[in-house]
């Protein structure tokens, strides 16, 4: 017996080790949650590897900053000029979009539509990967100490990246969108068809469960539907790059992710999302100066009524463009240039500043009158509102929003100038 054992010692050891591993694997697969010992092994492994990655990342960033801030200043002036020109263009664009946003907000309010807003995000550096083709996950340098929790959405400015899978004390593991075990609710921007966005074994991303009789075009954008409870609604997922008949009754829709999942450097972890119902009232507080202006005896009745009629038509509330004709002399325009400035809420991006103050304070502070709504009110002399009632928000609320929304002049500050 002894001779047999010693003769097959190597083989017996191999079988025992393999059996132990297969058994452990089977137990892990059967259990939905990780056991404490498994978690410990992962914590040790991640704690051993990530400090080096963090260190290299720190050195890399430091040397890049040194280069960028001190040595690479050539051409900054020209770049500055180009950026200023771009800002001017964007302001015009912002004015146009602000008008559209105000209209959308009123429609949402009519439908009692609840929308999720990203209130707080934490910026994180991507410091490593799993190193495996079958596990598409990355490590970020923020963890439990930074209030990161499992199942938080991870995004970039381009689109969604994935979700937080495991949280360690100072790092977290993020499961990427293109991993075959990940999933997100998706909706086609144009057709509003919904499906599930999943990764494949080869690292591609697909939209599943769209019926084969639906029309899906290459180039269609896909946004998050919000149905998964992880990603807030309306974030870009990607673009359709191929549509083909799939198995059963569904289409096979291949997606090019909006975020570059192969080259991630910095990401945002969405740590707080708020649901709120937009209301017309919040964007329609009439300006005291407009109400007063309408009640002035010097304003003739008829032109004012004309202005009222015009104000209710969409065109009259469009922002003033350089080529637009000036208002008729002696007639107070129903829509003043300032009142057509983009609504602050429309100007605030859905994604708040990184680790910025709460969006609530931002939106409430920078939420003067919605242009159209304000116009309607101000053009109704018998609205019954006293100037006091129609007074906009107190100036003290304006403080936190100032850096977030450039060029959005609070109404309470405008009033004295007029």
């Amino acid at each position: 017996m002894e001779s047999v054992l010693s003769r097959y010692k190597n083989l017996i050891t191999l079988v025992v080790i393999l059996f132990a591993q297969v058994l452990g694997l089977a137990i892990q697969v059967k259990r939905s949650s990780e056991s404490e010992s498994n978690r410990l092994i992962r914590i040790w492994a991640v704690s051993a590897v990530t400090p080096f990655e963090k260190g290299i990342n720190w050195v890399q960033n430091g040397s890049w900053n040194l280069w960028h801030n001190y040595f690479y200043l050539r051409g900054v002036r020209a770049e500055n000029r180009a950026l200023r020109a771009e800002i001017e263009q964007l302001r015009l664009e912002q004015a146009r979009l602000g008008d559209d946003a105000a209209q959308a907000r009123r429609l949402q309010a009519l439908l009692a539509f609840k929308e999720q807003y990203i209130q707080k995000t934490v910026a994180a550096q991507v410091i490593g990967t799993s190193g495996s083709e079958q596990s598409r996950s990355v490590f970020i340098d923020k963890g439990k100490h930074d209030r990161i929790e499992p199942n938080m959405a991870v995004i970039t400015a381009d689109g969604i990246v994935g979700k937080v899978l495991t949280v360690f004390p100072s790092t977290s593991q993020v499961l990427l969108l293109n991993d075959q075990s990940s999933g997100a609710g998706g909706i086609l921007e144009k057709s509003r068809l919904q499906g599930i966005v999943k990764g494949t074994s080869s690292g591609q991303v697909e939209l599943e469960y769209v019926m084969s009789d639906e029309q899906v075009q290459v180039g269609d954008k896909i946004l998050t539907s919000g149905g998964d409870g992880i990603f807030p609604k309306g974030l870009p997922i990607g673009t359709v790059i191929r549509v083909s008949p799939g198995h059963e009754l569904f289409l096979n829709i291949r997606i090019q992710p909006a975020a570059n999942l192969a080259k991630l450097e910095e990401v945002l972890v969405v740590t707080e999302v708020v649901s709120r119902e937009p209301s017309v009232a919040e964007g329609s507080s009439a300006r005291a100066v407009d109400v007063l202006a309408q009640r002035l005896p010097s304003v003739p009745d008829k032109p004012a009524q004309d202005a009222t009629t015009k104000a209710t038509t969409p065109d009259s509330t469009k922002p003033a463009t350089p080529g637009s004709p000036p208002p008729a002399a002696g007639t107070k325009p129903a829509v003043k240039p300032n009142s057509t400035k983009p609504d602050a809420e429309g100007a605030v991006p859905r994604i708040a500043e990184t680790s910025a103050p709460a969006l609530d304070s931002t939106t409430s502070a920078t939420k003067p009158a919605t242009p159209k709504a304000a116009t309607v009110k101000s053009a109704t002399p018998n609205s019954g509102l006293s100037p006091l009632e129609a007074k906009p928000a107190a100036p003290t609320k304006l403080k936190p929003a100032a850096p977030a929304v450039p060029k959005t002049t609070p109404l309470s500050q405008e009033a004295p100038q007029q």
Binding site: K9, N10, T13, L14, I17, L18, Q21, V22, G24, L25, A26, Q28, V29, N38, I41, R42, W44, A45, V46, A48, V49, F52, E53, I56, V126, I127, G128, T129, S130, G131, S132, E133, Q134, S135, S137, V138, F139, L165, T166, Q173, L175, D179, Q180, S181, S201, S202, A262, K263, L264
Partner: protein
């Protein structure tokens, strides 16, 4: 002849210091994680596997080889989100196989190392594929051209890596 059959007495058995035994596999796993971030194509390489093959062939002891492979594999598993043991099982078998082969054959020259690495790489992938599909339930697609190409790429890197690691060997 690149691969020669030798008796147990003819082959040299090497050992490694503790810092090398711990540090080299650790560095391999770390580099695999770090370089894959900056160079996505690097995921086709498997540095921990190359290190497993090297240590196993140099020690020429099957038990030592399978334990080395098992430990490196589990370490690699811990960095993924998959259950622990998928890489562990595959590298345990590779460690056992490489050390058994090292005990019988002289695989010290570049040609032999190149061939052995390709064979063990493909063997590793087959075991990984089987375990991941059969036990974990992953839907993986097997592609011979991809695996063979990756095998050749790993073998090329392996040949250079083995020569670098040869300097760390200590004669028993």
């Amino acid at each position: 002849m690149p691969i020669t059959y030798t008796s147990g007495e003819q082959v040299e058995v090497y050992r490694f210091s503790i810092p090398v035994t711990v540090g080299v596999p650790f560095a391999a796993v770390w580099l695999q994680s770090f370089l894959s971030l900056h160079f996505p194509f690097f995921k086709m390489f498997d540095l921990p596997l190359l290190v497993t093959i090297f240590f196993s062939m140099a020690r020429r002891n099957p038990i030592s080889g399978l334990l080395t492979g098992g430990a490196i594999g589990l370490f690699q598993d811990a960095l993924t989100h998959l259950p622990l043991g998928v890489y562990g099982i595959a590298k345990t078998l590779v460690g056992y196989g490489a050390s058994s082969l090292g005990a019988k054959l002289d695989v010290e020259n570049a040609g032999a190392r190149f061939l052995v690495t390709i064979i063990f790489y493909v063997g590793h992938e087959i075991v990984y594929f089987t375990v991941a599909r059969g036990l974990v339930g992953l839907s993986l697609a097997w592609s011979w051209p991809h695996e063979l190409l990756s095998g050749v790429a790993n073998a090329v890197v392996g040949v250079f890596l083995y020569f670098a690691l040869d300097r760390l060997k200590q004669r028993t």
